[in-house]
């Protein structure tokens, strides 16, 4: 994925206080925020960013954009995303959190049909250190380098970035998949992108303890990823409950029958080990694991 400081960025729902704040932050980082969209605000400017009523109007004026960031009220996030897809925008980052899951089901189906890349909901966005900031990522923990981060967690990603930066290991990119139950894109999609990415030499996967996505990612890594991968699953040592994701497991729980295939912490770690992925116990271990993995290559 070729992110450059020239990549053109649209902000939908720019009237939201959060959007306004981060539009300014992104601009200050050097991100090329070319337009904002909010119905009823067409013709205004915010932080010198022109605002349009409709996405298609914005594109008429500024040309094609590389990505749209959606900050809209979660109940309008689906509409905003569909508007972006209709206008032909190929990448969408849903910053809005709390998007109803059935809205996400519709969006995921639509995006699969159109080949649109959707990140989120509840995503902090993407950062390519020293190049581009997309979303609400805090840039101060990052430095440019060759380690790629893909994360389902928010702040623990900063802990990992901070540990790497302090050890002199910079990052090629950090991707926040978002914390929503139904996410627009998963680990596999981004592992594939980072496998091809020329700058990225090692990948760190930061996963949620209560979900099963990480195991799917582990089997994908075993078959499709050659670059070294290190996993960090903050919370896996804490006694938090599993989230039931599978329909049969959900009704089994209602019937007071033990769910057949809930994934335990042990199973998860075993899945990664099977895929030759080291699971870091703590952020401070990660720089060493990266260095070792890169030497082995």
């Amino acid at each position: 994925m070729d992110w450059t400081p020239e990549s053109k960025v649209l902000v939908q729902g720019i009237n939201e206080p959060l959007a306004s704040h981060y539009a300014a932050e992104m601009k200050a980082y050097g991100t090329n925020v070319v337009a904002g969209v909010c119905a009823g605000w067409g013709g205004e400017h915010l932080h010198e960013i022109p605002v349009f009523d409709l996405v298609e109007q914005a594109l008429e004026e500024v040309g094609e954009v590389d990505v749209s960031l959606i900050f809209a009220n979660p109940y309008w996030a689906l509409d905003a995303a569909l508007e972006a897809i209709a206008a032909g925008i190929a990448r969408i980052i849903l910053i809005s959190s709390g998007v109803p899951p059935l809205d996400m089901v519709r969006l995921v189906k639509k995006a699969q049909a159109t080949g649109t890349l959707v990140l989120g909901p509840g995503s902090a966005g993407i950062i390519v250190p020293d190049t581009i900031l997309l979303g609400t990522v805090s840039p101060q923990y990052y430095s440019a380098g060759t380690v790629g981060l893909i994360s389902r967690m928010n702040c623990p990603t900063y802990e990992v970035a901070l540990a790497l930066t302090q050890a002199g290991l910079g990052q090629s990119i950090a991707i926040h998949l978002g914390t929503g139950g139904i996410a627009g894109s998963n680990f596999e999609r981004w592992l594939q992108i980072l496998e091809k990415d020329k700058t990225t030499e090692a990948i760190i996967l930061i996963g949620q303890p209560g979900s099963s996505n990480e195991e799917t990612a582990a089997s994908y890594i075993a078959t499709a990823i050659n670059k070294p991968v290190i996993a960090y699953l903050p919370g896996i040592h804490a006694p938090v409950g599993q989230r039931l994701e599978d329909a049969t497991a959900i009704v089994a729980a209602n019937l007071s029958v033990p769910a057949p295939d809930t994934s335990t912490a042990k199973q998860k770690i075993a899945a990664f080990e099977k895929a030759k992925v080291t699971v870091a116990k703590r952020p401070s271990q990660i720089p060493d694991l990266v260095t070792k993995a890169l030497k082995k290559k």
């Binding site: 009237n15 939201e16 206080p17 959060l18 704040h21 981060y22 909010c38 119905a39 605000w41 400017h45 915010l46 009220n73 979660p74 109940y75 910053i95 809005s96 959190s97 709390g98 109803p100 899951p101 059935l102 809205d103 089901v105 995921v108 189906k109 902090a124 609400t136 805090s138 101060q140 967690m153 928010n154 702040c155 900063y158 802990e159 901070l162 914390t179 139904i182 099963s212 903050p234 919370g235 896996i236 040592h237 804490a238 938090v240 989230r243 994701e245 599978d246 329909a247 049969t248 959900i250 009704v251 089994a252 209602n254 019937l255 007071s256 029958v257 116990k281 703590r282 952020p283 401070s284």
Partner: protein, 469 residues
């Protein structure tokens, strides 16, 4: 959140899924005014499963029996839950009982239809016969027919079951539900179906756009309130979305956050709104047995990472709070944040077992400074507030003044921490990255406060303090 059976059945009735005539009973004496002819079945309205086996469902033939049975059910706790209401329902002669469900499958990211030709209370039997149809694309009735056929049904049964499944799906979509379950779905000699029990799980993040569901839930809460229990406080309702916050309704550019437009919502921080809807720290339900460490963080995932490290070092969590959650990314300096930190410290110290408080806040250097100030403000050694100018002097050096411990402060306030307890003062481990913290550190030099900018060091220190006698 799960609806009670009678609430689920209200939704069934609305959408056209057959349900029996029934009446809500909130007091056993009201059975004298029962409109439904005997025999009836009385059902405890609890969310817990297994109420039938626990004795929460009783068949009665007359008023005297009904009143006695109702008294028993009202006093019967099912997995710790007492009913606030009973449902009195007509009896139904089912020839066969099926299981039907429509569930959002998070793994497949699709709704799934589930059906079993063996409905009822024997969970394992139900599951063994379970059929599953994934609604891959836009729903159409053939998905429901595919399920019914898979269940081995034919003729009028096939039609009746697939029509019911269609309506369940429609209900799920219309009301943004996580799941709709009918178990059992009774089917009589004429092939007519009847939803004999129902489970509906709402989706909390979608609830804000369904006023009817909010009032459905609130109506039962009202009854619960009258009965004087607070078992199911609707706290999550406070945190849900208010609908209709269209961007076209807000004020002009340049006046962000100053409009009178209500309400600010999740995922958004609204500086000027903070006064009329102050954010509160969120208390997570995490804890270990015999926990003595309190954690405050500004991100639920970071709190989890902290608990993870704590567990690895054999520390035990007593209570965990998340502050300033409404602000993703870098903490922004709003008065609400400062306030929340004070509230969170207070809430941790309410737990008498708390020996160490670990504050782990990851934010910009400027915000780190403000957080440190907020902590100092809460913990600072205080002057006796005797003189008139005391308020002003408090801003200056506290050297040589009488100290008042946080515990005493706390017990003086509304909180319940007992000042008579002879135990040691709680210790504080503060992890902040960046910021000019020296002056704050100096001010708290007499207090049991430990500073670090490293998470793992903070956890190690916390655990060693927690194990110190």
């Amino acid at each position: 959140m799960d609806l009670l059976e009678y609430q689920a059945k209200e939704l069934f009735r609305e959408i056209g899924i057959p349900v029996l005539p029934s009446q809500r009973i909130d007091d056993s004496r009201n059975l004298k005014r029962l409109q439904i002819p005997y025999p009836v079945v009385l059902k405890s309205q609890v969310r817990a499963g297994g109420r039938g086996r626990a004795g929460g469902i009783r068949f009665v033939e007359n008023t005297i029996d009904a009143i006695a049975a109702a008294r028993t059910i009202f006093n019967l706790s099912i997995l710790g839950e007492y009913p606030q209401l009973l449902l009195a329902e007509a009896r139904y002669d089912a020839e066969q009982e099926f299981f039907l469900a429509v569930v959002l499958d998070y793994k497949l990211q699709r709704p799934v239809l589930l059906g079993s030709s063996r409905g009822g209370m024997e969970g394992e039997v139900v599951l063994k016969q379970m059929q599953k149809v994934v609604v891959e694309d836009e729903f159409s009735p053939f998905y429901a027919r595919r399920l019914a056929l898979g269940m081995g049904l034919q003729g009028s049964q096939l039609q009746a079951v697939s029509t019911t499944t269609e309506k369940m799906y429609q209900l799920m979509l219309e009301k943004d539900l996580n799941s709709v379950e009918i178990n059992p779905l009774g089917i009589n000699a004429n092939g007519e179906v009847m939803a004999l029990d129902g489970k509906v799980q709402l989706n909390d993040s979608a609830l804000g756009r369904h006023d009817d569901l909010i009032s459905l839930v609130a109506s039962s809460r009202g009854t619960e309130g009258q009965r004087g229990t607070g078992a199911n406080k609707p706290t999550h309702l406070l945190r849900t979305w208010a609908p209709g916050h269209l961007c076209t309704e807000t004020s002009a550019p340049g006046h962000l956050g100053t409009s009178a437009q209500k309400p600010p919502h999740l995922g958004t921080w609204a500086p000027s709104h903070s006064s009329d809807s102050p954010s509160q720290p969120r208390r997570l339900d995490w804890r270990d047995k015999q926990g003595n460490v309190g954690i405050i963080s500004n991100d639920v995932d970071l709190a989890l990472a902290s608990w993870d490290l704590l567990s690895q070092e054999k520390g035990k969590l007593a209570r965990c709070l998340v502050v300033a959650e409404e602000i993703p990314g870098n903490l922004l300096l709003t008065p609400s944040v400062t306030e929340q930190i004070g509230q969170a410290l207070e809430q941790l110290l309410e737990v008498p077992e708390t020996k160490v408080v670990l504050v782990n806040i990851l934010c910009s250097p400027g915000a780190a400074q403000a957080v440190a100030e907020a902590i100092a403000e809460y913990l600072k050694p205080q002057q006796e507030e005797t003189s008139a100018q005391g308020g002003e002097e408090r801003q200056l050096s506290p050297t040589g003044t009488a100290l008042r411990s946080p515990k005493e402060r706390s017990s003086r306030s509304r909180s319940s921490r007992s000042s008579s307890s002879p135990k040691a003062e709680p210790q504080f481990v503060i992890r902040l990255v960046g910021g000019e913290l020296d002056s704050v550190k100096e001010r708290l030099v007499t207090m049991p406060v430990h500073w670090t900018d490293n998470l793992e060091e903070a956890v190690t220190q916390t655990v060693s303090l927690a194990w110190t006698k």
